[in-house]
Amino acid sequence: MAKVSEKKVPMREQDPKARIKNFQEVPFGYTEEEAVLEAKRCLQCKKPGCVKGCPVEIDIPAFIARIAERDFKNAIKIIKKKNVLPAICGRVCPQEDQCEKECVLAKKMEPVAIGRLERFAADWEAENNLVEIPPKQPSTGKRVAVVGSGPAGLVFAGDLAQLGHEVVIFEALHKPGGVLIYGIPEFRLPKAIVEREIEYVKQLGVKIITSFVVGQTKTVDELLQEFDAVFIGTGAGLPWFMNIPGEHLNGIYSANEYLVRTNLMKAYLFPEYDTPIVRGRRVAVIGGGNVAMDAARTALRLGAETSTIVYRRSRKEMPAREEEIVHAEEEGVRFEFLTLPVRYYGTEDGWVKEIECVRMELGEPDASGRRRPIVIPNSEFRIPVDTVVVAIGQSPNPLIPKTTPGLEIGKHGNIMADEKTGKTTKKGVFAGGDIVTGAATVILAMGAGRIAARACDEYLKTNIW
């Protein structure tokens, strides 16, 4: 066996000093040479761990082998058998916790850069205009409605359309894509790429109707009169607040608002675009997940002098992806670990000016397995701010649960659906993605869409629930 280099082939990135002044993508992606070099690190294991770690079971060694042979065309074909959104997953999947974690190399050195290779193959295909639309199955005459155009809905729709069913997606916002469009920032996931992948789903025959809120414009029951089945993929959109004094002050945003203004409404281009955003000088972001990192890095790009993450546990417990934390650190985001906000103070005309925080220490592990933060008495201190972004999580979007009789709802407001089929307690209604699991990941939402598509196809053929 040839000696494998210890480290991944590095990916070139925009210089931190330059990139905090623009919204362009941070990593540049591999060149063909770099991709081939990295692909050659793969050992082509007989029993590959990486595939087991992949929620949609991409034949990873096979696609990597094609890249190593410079057969990029077949590499992407292999990926697309299992993953219709590879350019997105290659960029935002938590590979370090999935395929790459299970890669045999990971035991001794850096694992194969599976995510980067996936991204390379997808981009290569698009840049060379080689995207092929698979042949369509004969029409079955069945009609399926999909609510929500995030990754769960897109995958579900794409799969069913390929099986010959007529599929219509209803999306509340004016652009399809869910969090991929409104949440994850341009510098991490360029919107042109999301649009490209959505175009592909459309070419599979899926019709997308935007600005249509199911539960308001039409209810699920009304959709069931026109369609043979309905899939609900409405995500986890309801933002949490901490309910501490002063949270209504001007300048305090939910992460959703901050990111929707920036990404969907392009507030960073104000006044060319009409939607404004407060460009704070001293920004604090509360939370430690991907959403918090995205908000903190966005703040810098909007011109903040300081952007500080306030997180109640330590760096080790932060749920954000390592890559995102490192990128944030490189860009100069500050971190206040073991810190909990307890109230906000405002100016006379109602703008936030300080956060009062307390220091925390870590106690015994809690239900999540992470050590529980405990308040240290008399440790109050204040952080001066003019903008705060609350990024402490969100729960399932309540609009459909509230307006659909017969759907069983869990105690966190999520829709109850069978893990193996996506079936809900209502005949003909499937659900998947964040609306079922609570805030999770792109790939898990896609996996749920795929499982439900399979079960839905079965149901459409047999009418057995």
């Binding site: 308001q216 209504h248 939910s254 929707v260 409404m265 104000f270 609009l399």
Partner: protein
């Protein structure tokens, strides 16, 4: 794309548009609203559904030109399109038999309260309406309101029409006459809704107000429309826009409405400069 079927000026800076929007027209109930986005660079703004023609798939909106987006909307003509029209949004008003209901509309609140008053009347309530405006020429929809009211009172701040004074003066007069009022609906500027709520509070007259915080998605996702009601945080777009006026914290609402004053001015100035250029610098 949603087509504008007709436009009409009701008063200086107040316009009435008919849109072709069959799904929304079908579904709309009193108290609900839509979100409009005019073009690709446009903002999403909420506007109340003033009326519908269900059989023709028409949604009617009355708006006041206050800033860039409403002014731009005001320049559009029959046959033009807006990119997005989303709705109907929010919870419908609770229309049932209360007995005697006082409906109060201030400014562009009048067309907003019109469908509510009409629905209340249709199911047999005694509807007493008070509408107010700064001055006579800003009074709108008077005849429409008259047609759905048992009694109609009009106030103007400057006394140029009806009684000189505020809508709350008229409300106080009704209360002092000892008429049994079972419910009050008030729609208009925040300061007016606050005043109405303060007027009815000592008499425990249930009072519904329709809040107009800044909105973005209007589907319960961004949290910008949060208002404090009875000490709890509510999202006006999905939990409202109507709330119990005695529970609403109007002061924080008024403060939050000022969030983007600076940016709104920038937008408007830019818009006015550009629109002057395109019509030959008039």
């Amino acid at each position: 794309m949603f087509k504008i079927l007709s436009t009409k000026a009701l008063a200086p800076n107040i316009k009435c548009f008919e849109f072709e929007a069959p799904y929304i027209a079908q579904k709309a109930q009193p108290g609900q609203f839509v979100v409009v986005r005019i073009n690709e660079t446009g903002e999403r703004i909420p506007l109340t559904i003033a009326d519908t023609k269900k059989d023709q798939g028409v949604v009617i909106i009355v708006f006041q030109e206050v800033g860039k987006t409403t002014k731009l909307l005001g320049t559009l003509k029959a046959g033009d399109y807006v990119l997005d029209l989303l709705g109907p949004l929010g919870k419908p008003s609770e229309i049932k038999y209360y007995g005697t209901v006082v409906c109060i509309g201030g400014g562009v609140g009048t067309p907003e309260i019109y469908p509510i008053a009409r629905a209340l009347k249709e199911i047999g309530n005694k509807v007493v309406t008070i509408i107010g405006a700064r001055t006579k020429e800003l009074l709108i929809m008077v005849e429409e309101m008259r047609s759905v009211s048992d009694e109609l009172y009009i106030t103007t701040d400057d006394g140029s029409y009806g009684t000189k004074g505020l809508v709350t003066d008229e409300l106080k007069r009704l209360i002092s006459q000892g008429i049994k009022i079972d419910k009050v609906f008030a729609v208009g500027p925040v300061i007016m809704m606050k005043a109405v709520s303060e007027t009815t509070r000592p008499y425990n007259i249930p009072t519904v107000v329709s809040l107009n915080p800044i909105m973005l998605d209007a589907t319960g996702m961004c949290g910008v429309c949060r208002v404090e009601v009875g000490g709890e945080t509510k999202f006006a777009c999905v939990d409202g826009p109507e709330f119990d006026g005695h529970q609403v914290n109007f002061d924080t609402l008024m403060m939050r409405l000022k969030t983007y004053l600076k940016e709104e001015r920038v937008s408007l100035e830019l818009f006015e400069k550009q629109s002057h250029k395109c019509c030959g610098g008039q």
